[in-house]
């Protein structure tokens, strides 16, 4: 488990993009996000892992789309005007993350992020890097590697 508070300068802050999945706020480092877009349609890929919504073309690239609701164990929701696709960089791969909504940029000091304790061992617990407390708000910091790779990919 990573411990951010020890490994970085006390005053360091980083920019995150905030998004919502099933009523909860999540964040990813903005430098990991290539771009964000609205989605009308995702082409299903037969026999892909269950949390994979399908595939889209994004800026000329073929991008797999992970449905974060499905990934965290929630019911899938219908795509709508507020649905956003966050195309994130993971190594050399571009992966689309399907979120219910995504609106703001936020600067979070590393000191306000704690490791995800057992208390937050809820549905998305396995996919978190940490928990940021910003006044009254709680924001869960997403670990993209875990989201993309954590379960074995269904045999092709």
């Amino acid at each position: 488990m990573t411990d951010k508070s020890n490994s970085t300068e006390p005053a360091k802050t980083q920019t995150y993009i905030l998004f919502g999945v099933a009523g909860t706020s999540y964040a990813v480092l903005s430098r990991q996000v290539q771009h964000m877009e609205m989605v009308e349609q995702v082409t299903p890929v037969p026999n892909a892992p269950p949390f994979v919504e399908g595939v889209v073309f994004s800026r000329g690239q073929i991008v797999p789309v992970i449905n974060l609701r499905a990934r965290f164990g929630f019911e899938r929701a219908r795509l709508n005007q507020r649905t956003r696709l966050l195309v994130v960089q993971h190594g050399t791969r571009s992966i689309g993350l399907l979120a219910d909504e995504a609106r703001e940029f936020l600067t979070i000091a590393d000191t306000s992020i704690q490791p995800p304790g057992d208390a937050i061992g809820n549905l998305s617990g396995n996919y978190l890097d940490g928990v940021a407390t910003l006044g009254e708000r709680i924001v869960l910091i997403l670990n993209i590697r875990e989201v993309v790779e954590s379960t074995p990919i269904a045999a092709a």
Partner: protein, 654 residues
Amino acid sequence: MTERDPRFESSFMDDYFAEADEHLLAVRRCLLALDGVRAADVSSAVLEELFRSCHSLKGISAMVELREAELLAHHMESGLRAIRQGEVAPDAANLETLLAGANALEAVIVARRQGQVPPSEEATIAALRRLAISPAGTGTPVTATAPLDGPRGWRATFVPSAALVARGIKVDTIRARLLEVGKILSVTPNVQANGGIAFEFDIQTEDEAALAALSPDGVFYAPAGEPAAPVTAEAPASIDEPSSGPRAREVASAAPGNFVRVDLGRLDDLMRVAGDLVVTRSRLEDTLRRVERHVPAREFRLLQEHDSLMERQLRDLRDGIMRVRLVPVGEVFRRMPFVVRDLARDSGKRVQLEIAGQSTEIDKFLIERMMDPILHLVRNAVGHGIETVERRVAAGKPPDGTIRLSASTVGESVIIEIADDGAGIDLEAIAQRAPAKDMRTEDGALDARVLLDIICASGFSTRDEADRISGRGVGMDVVRGTVDELGGTLDVDTERGRGTTFTITLPLTLAVIDAIIAHVGDQTFAVPQSAIHEVIEVDPGGLRALERNELLTYRGRALPMVRLSRLFRINTTTRPRLHAIVVGTGLSAVGLLVDRVAGHREIVVKSIGDPLIHVEGVSGATELGDGRLVLILDVAALSRNVRERPRSGERASA
């Protein structure tokens, strides 16, 4: 900027690899041109080019700090200098050393390219060093260049035998006789491939007749720089390139032309833009169709004319870019003589390599991907196909096996054939390895598809021990995988005792293909037209269930069906008629059952690389005019699926 820009560095390395490749190719071409040429006939132009290429390799390797390559190139250069200055003869042994140097250089460069630790090439460097500094070692003094009226250099070879000993002829006897004939410069005992020993005397004499007189006593001779003819029991591979004409001329023609070297990535960008244009135009066409009612007929006709003009121009543009990407397959073929030569020597076989159609052009990307598979098939042909000399002679065949590597263009496809006149594939041995498969059809003929399925299964080998020849690099499963991935097909034709032919059919280029658009439930798929035999209408009531398969009796045969809705778990409503897309012919024909086929489109193929969406039966994706992404079906994998299903059924019930 003081830091090295990694992007700059990587493009710098790409340049290095490209340039090193060219020089290595030149080195090998030159070495081949020198092979078997009398020392006196060695063209100084070829030597010069060899020297220059090694020198360049040394320079560019130093620049990218690839020390191992720099060192190897340095020692090759030194060896060549000695040859050029007449201190060392370009004889078979020395050429072998230089060739080993070139192979080592390539290994080191390939290792760097793949980010691996370079192999140790100490032994090769040591051999090269011996070549450069000691003319009396593996090297042979060049005396062939001496004036013809003076004493000439010869290499006399004596192979002792029981019969000769019985007549009192031993190596000392021969040595004494040779001393009478001329001046012995050196004697080298050589162990033969058959375990015997041969003594090589380098001798200077004016009296060739005296040498000839020794032949009844087991002495063979040849001008220095050439191996004495009868001692070829160790089977040097004779390499023949009928279509390339005299070797020396091929080398001389490497003149600088009016060429630019273009990074493949830039061409890809251009091709992508052209591909995007194709999509945009089909969107425009869709829009045109929708607004037809609102536009005066005369104006609409003009719009349509512009549209179809644009379609033609786009096609020209694409063809133009495509042509730039085409390179002659000869670039890959040219390496094969070395491979065959090395393998034949190692395995003690005699192999002639015939190459045809080297100028056939194919997409650069495709041929680069095909390099390893072709190499593998050629290795297989030498290792498994061609028999030993004894077996061939016993079977009444010429002692030299022939491997024919050819390429040709047929329509929009390139066909590459690797044919050998060897033993053919041992079907009995294969049947033992795969007892579950019945390879015979009703009339007893062999089903090539099934045979391919077996030999291309991962890990398949008819030999228990992975031998040096076939046991390295890629396997048949990778060969077929690569061909499939590139949208091509692999076929095999084998006949016991007559040989085996592998045929690879590849599209001329990737990027844009013709496809049939098909619907299953609410989903749409594209099927490459090149794979489609025909599209038929099917009455679902006429389908017979047979265990887990469905069969349709069609033209008197049982045609297995893949119901895409079932395979892909897509909800569909019951329909009175379905369409079946028939792929393959004969026994390998399979019908892909879809709801309906909705016409034909030109599609821009994008490959699917990400493992999350890399699923069996899907080879890529494309964008239709309406902006939707549509998956392209991997027809080869789908039809394999139906062929393999009975086996998995057996396993489940066992």
